[in-house]
C-alpha cells in the first residue's frame, strides 16, 4: 500500500475526473496540481485555461497568481480575461475548480463575507474574483475543500458562487445555463455529487478508512448517501510519483 497525505489524495481523486480533451479553468494551488497531474497521466490533451488570459500553457511550475508569468509559459495565447470568461459563457469550458469559506447542501459557495450585515461584515473575505463567473458558465464545477462542519453550513452567509440555489430546477429558473452546475465536492473524507432530482449533496464515495458517520459528523446539514456509494479509489503509485516529482517537487501544495 502506498502512503499519501490527504492533500495528495484529494489532488489524485480530482485529477481522475478530468478526461482527455476536456477544457478547464485552473486556479492556483490544489486545482492546478490536479490539472497538471491529469495532463501527465490520462488526459494529455486537457486544455488548460487561466481566468486572466493564459491559454494552453506548458506550466513549468505552480503559478502563484492566476495571472502570473507561469500561466503564459509556452502558452498558445496570452489573452485577456474576456477571452477566458467568454469561452465559458459560450459553453467551451467543461470544468472549473472553485472554493469558499462555506458551502451548503446545494453546492452554493460563499467567499464574500461572514456575518449578516453586508455593510459591516464580521469577516470580510476576498469576494467572487472569477468564481461566480465560472460557477455560472462552466459546465461542471468541482470543489476541493477540507471537510469541516463550519464550512459545510446549513446556510451560507452569502451566495458568492451559485450552485443549485434552493435545489431542483431553481438554478435554471434563475437564468443560469441549462445543464451547468456543481459536479463533485472532494474533501479529505469523501467525494460528493448532486445526481438526484433535488440536486442535494450526496456522498458518492468514502475515502479509505473513513466511515459515513465521520462524514456526517463533519457536515452541518443533512447529507444524502448514494445507493451506489463505493470506496474512493486511492491514489496509485504512478499518480503519486508524477505528483511528487513533476507537478509539485517543491511541495508547495502537497506539503501543506
Amino acid at each position: 500500500m502506498t502512503d499519501y497525505n490527504s492533500m495528495e489524495l484529494m489532488i489524485c481523486v480530482a485529477a481522475r475526473f478530468l478526461e482527455n480533451g476536456a477544457s478547464i479553468v485552473v486556479g492556483t494551488g490544489a486545482p492546478c496540481a490536479a490539472a497538471m497531474l491529469a495532463q501527465r497521466t490520462a488526459a494529455p490533451d486537457l486544455l488548460m485555461l487561466f481566468e486572466a488570459g493564459g491559454i494552453a500553457p506548458e506550466l513549468p511550475t505552480m503559478p502563484v497568481s492566476v495571472g502570473d508569468s507561469r500561466t503564459t509559459h509556452r502558452a498558445l495565447m496570452a489573452s485577456s480575461m474576456t477571452e477566458t470568461m467568454s469561452l465559458a459563457a459560450r459553453g467551451m469550458v467543461d470544468y472549473a475548480f472553485l472554493g469558499g469559506a462555506q458551502i451548503d447542501m446545494f453546492g452554493n459557495l460563499n467567499s464574500t463575507m461572514i456575518g449578516d450585515d453586508y455593510n459591516r461584515p464580521k469577516v470580510r473575505l476576498p469576494g467572487s474574483g472569477g468564481a461566480c463567473d465560472l460557477a455560472t458558465n462552466c459546465w461542471r464545477t468541482i470543489v476541493i475543500t477540507p471537510h469541516e462542519k463550519r464550512r459545510f453550513a446549513a446556510k451560507v452567509d452569502f451566495v458568492t458562487s451559485p450552485g443549485y440555489l434552493t435545489g431542483g430546477n431553481s438554478r435554471y429558473e434563475a437564468g443560469l445555463p441549462k445543464g451547468s452546475g456543481p459536479y463533485k465536492i472532494i474533501t479529505n473524507l469523501a467525494v460528493m455529487g448532486f445526481e438526484n432530482p433535488e440536486r442535494r449533496m450526496e456522498v458518492e464515495s468514502l475515502h479509505p478508512g473513513v466511515t459515513i458517520e465521520q462524514v456526517k459528523e463533519n457536515t452541518g446539514f443533512e447529507l444524502l448517501v448514494s445507493k451506489k456509494m463505493k470506496a474512493t479509489k486511492p491514489p496509485d503509485a504512478t499518480q503519486l510519483k508524477i505528483l511528487r516529482e513533476q507537478v509539485d517537487p517543491h511541495r508547495y501544495i502537497i506539503g501543506r
Binding site: 492566476v66 508569468s69 496570452a78 464574500t112 461584515p121 467572487s128 443560469l176 517543491h250
Partner: protein, 331 residues
C-alpha cells in the same frame, strides 16, 4: 425597458455614454510628449475623491510605484475598482486612501494569503462597497469602451452579489431569458503598468492583458507607467504590438521595476519574500506603521524603495527567476 429586478448597490460612476462623450470630445489627439514623473502624474490626475482603476491583476503587472505615490501624497476619499486587486489594494488600504469600492476580489493575495490590515479596513465600516465579479467588472469596462451604457451577462444571476451591486435583471427580448446588466464604468483615471511605451503613450503589454485594453479606453484619464521608453519607430515597424494607443493616454512615466515586488511578465518575477514580509508585519500594528514609514512615507521616491530592497542586485535575481522558470515561486 422595465427591469425584472434591481440590485440596491451603489453606482459610483455615471454609466451614460453621452457624459463620457463630452469628456472624450475634448481629449487631446495630437502626438504630444507626455513624459512626467510619477509624482507629477499622480498630483495632476489623481485628485482627492476621484475614482481610480488599476491595471494588472493579482500582483501581476501592477503599477506599484504609482500606488506608493498615491499613499505618499496622502490622497483621500478615492473611489476604487477592486478587480482582483491584491498587493495594490493592500497598499492603498494601508494609506486609507479610498472610501468606496467596486469589489470583485479584494483583501486577499490569492495563494499568498490575506492582508490582515486590508481586511480590517474593509470591516471598519469606513468603505462603502458594491459587490461584483471579475467578469462583471471586465464587462463594465468593455461596455464603456464600446460606448454603450451596459452589457448583459449571466454572472451574478442567483448570487447574492447582485443584491449589493447596481446590476439589474432584464428579460432578453429575443429569447425571453433572464440576464443581468453590467453598467458601463468610466473611471476618472486608470493607472496601468506596461512593458514598453513611447513618449506619446503608445503602449505594449506582454503577457496577459486582463481587461486593460478596455480599461485604457474606458478611463477619462490614463497614466501609463512603463518599464522602458522606446522609440515610436519600433511600433511603426510592426503595427501589431500596440495595445493602448497614445490618444487614450495622459501621462507616461518611465519607472524600471515599477511593478516590484509584483511579477512583471517577460521582465521579472515577484519578490515573494518581500510580499510575505508585508503580510506578516501587518499582524503588528506598531511595526506596520513603522514599516509604512520606512517603505513609503519617509522614502523620497520609488527608486529609494528599490534600493532598500536590494537594489539592482535583487532585481537581477528576480529577472533570473522570471526566465529560469523551474525555480519555483519561493526562491
Amino acid at each position: 425597458m422595465k427591469a425584472v429586478y434591481e440590485g440596491k448597490g451603489a453606482l459610483f460612476m455615471d454609466p451614460d455614454p453621452d457624459a463620457a462623450r463630452e469628456h472624450f470630445r475634448k481629449k487631446n489627439r495630437e502626438m504630444t510628449g507626455k513624459i512626467m514623473s510619477v509624482r507629477d502624474a499622480v498630483a495632476k490626475f489623481v485628485p482627492d475623491g476621484c475614482y481610480v482603476a488599476i491595471g494588472g491583476f493579482g500582483g501581476v503587472r501592477v503599477p506599484v510605484a504609482a500606488m506608493h505615490e498615491i499613499v505618499r501624497q496622502r490622497k483621500k476619499g478615492l473611489g476604487l475598482s477592486g478587480h482582483t486587486a491584491t498587493h495594490d489594494f493592500q497598499i492603498l488600504a494601508a494609506g486609507e486612501c479610498f472610501d468606496r469600492c467596486d469589489v470583485a476580489y479584494i483583501v486577499g493575495l490569492e495563494a499568498r494569503g490575506v492582508s490582515k490590515n486590508a481586511r480590517k479596513y474593509m470591516e471598519s465600516g469606513k468603505v462603502k462597497c458594491a459587490e461584483w465579479t471579475n467578469a462583471g467588472m471586465a464587462w463594465r469596462f468593455k461596455a464603456a469602451s464600446l460606448g454603450i451604457p451596459f452589457l448583459i451577462g449571466r454572472q451574478s444571476l442567483g448570487a447574492d452579489s447582485i443584491k449589493w451591486s447596481a446590476s439589474k435583471i432584464i428579460e432578453c427580448p429575443y429569447t425571453g431569458k433572464q440576464f443581468a446588466t453590467f453598467p458601463a464604468l468610466y473611471p476618472d483615471v486608470a493607472i496601468i503598468h506596461v512593458n514598453d511605451a513611447d513618449i506619446y503613450g503608445n503602449s505594449v503589454i506582454k503577457g496577459v492583458s486582463i481587461a486593460d485594453e478596455d480599461l485604457a479606453r474606458a478611463a477619462k484619464h490614463v497614466i501609463i507607467t512603463c518599464e522602458r521608453i522606446v522609440d515610436t519607430e519600433e511600433f511603426r515597424k510592426d503595427p501589431h504590438q500596440v495595445m493602448i494607443p497614445y490618444f487614450c493616454v495622459d501621462a507616461v512615466c518611465e519607472i524600471p521595476y515599477g511593478g516590484y515586488p509584483g511579477n512583471m511578465p517577460f521582465e521579472y518575477f515577484s519578490d515573494e519574500a518581500h510580499l510575505k514580509e508585508w503580510l506578516e508585519i501587518e499582524e503588528d500594528a506598531a511595526a506596520f506603521k513603522k514599516f509604512l514609514d520606512d517603505n513609503i512615507y519617509n522614502v523620497k521616491d520609488f527608486g529609494e524603495y528599490l534600493e532598500r530592497h536590494g537594489g539592482i542586485e535583487r532585481m537581477k535575481e528576480l529577472r533570473k527567476l522570471e526566465f529560469i522558470t523551474d525555480a519555483g515561486f519561493e526562491a
